[in-house]
Symmetry: C2
Subunit: 209 residues, 2 copies
Amino acid sequence: MAVKAKKQGVRRASVDDRRELILRAAVEVFSRKGYTGCRIQDVAKEAQVAYGLVYHYFKNKDELLESVFATGWKGFLKLVQAEIDREEHITARVRGIVGVAFEAYRRDPRAVKVLILEVGRSPAGGSVNRGGAFSQVILAAANMFKAAQQRGELPAQLEPVLCATMLFGAIEMGLTTFVMGLLDKRDEAAIARAQEQVVETYLRGVTAR
Amino acid sequence: MAVKAKKQGVRRASVDDRRELILRAAVEVFSRKGYTGCRIQDVAKEAQVAYGLVYHYFKNKDELLESVFATGWKGFLKLVQAEIDREEHITARVRGIVGVAFEAYRRDPRAVKVLILEVGRSPAGGSVNRGGAFSQVILAAANMFKAAQQRGELPAQLEPVLCATMLFGAIEMGLTTFVMGLLDKRDEAAIARAQEQVVETYLRGVTAR
DNA sequence: CTCCGCGCTGATTCCTGAATCAACGGCGCG
DNA sequence: CGCGCCGTTGATTCAGGAATCAGCGCGGAG
């Protein structure tokens, strides 16, 4: 097939390229079929690669899907953490976090769909502790809120953990609106407006008292 | 096995009882393993019923899972719709909707987990149009918000669809906090407080302007 | 008491998909 | 120029789960 030409005519694809290729294909299939519904066959086909090669790079299905998750989530986590750590008023940090999430969505809606919409709730979870990773972000955010309360930037009577979950809930559902086609995902202005509304509504709800 | 005695000693279980039994067992397994991960074997075992009986009542796996979904969702939908239809200020209706969701959670956390956390996003969906059902509620709520805007109960610049998704996002994540064990699900007071915070934060965010 | 029918059973069949493995071929090195 | 290494291939094996079906037994009718 014509596609393979790239690894002959051009310089031979490096190992990392192939691995990456499979990983990206897996994200694609994973996002379409879900954790258990994702078949190696499909991943291989999607990546234009032999069935066996998937097993060359990954011990088994679980490890592959785990990698998909870990890779994507790690990137997201780092960005969110950076926002959490910023030395600014809580409202600025919240704005930052929402910005990170929406930006990620703009860049790769499918990956976000996988991470935000499947992670932490997929009951079909393998051995993977994805829920744990999700909790990690929630708890990090919760700590941020708690500190903000101590600085008097946030009403003290709020439960920080709930503040965190509600923030991500708001983000998630804001994005879901597009993923599910309730709003037009190609309408850049609509996405921007959604981001705005999510931030403002959340902050107003959490701040005013 | 001793368990079967109930259909001998007592009056023979009616058809509906058995069907119901299987349905409930399916909810249980479904909530643990997810759509694709749910095996008929497990459902039968959970229901203390022969493997074949599942196929006596349901054409195939898809139809079973579809029934699980349809049944549970229909019930929830009806309650939510009732709240939506109430002739009251928008804040009262929102309170009602959140109340319905939390009450349902109190009654049957597992079923809620299935419905709220899997419905509408599970990419592993079979032929089922579950996303459609989810959209239905969102859109019904969105209409409610739009009407409220026209009555001046809500700022006009808000996108009603986003108001709706954010409401359910807030509810969902409020409940997720317990499902994921971030807050103690046996602590009734904590649940009540969570409900309170979800409602108040949401309303404040959406109302004040 | 006997026979029938209906709900129910679970071993069996068939098939899908995960994981293995023996072999291929291009590339670099001697 | 030939040899061996290593990334790659895809047919094959095997486990497990969906769906089938030939009958079983209890309750009721005659």
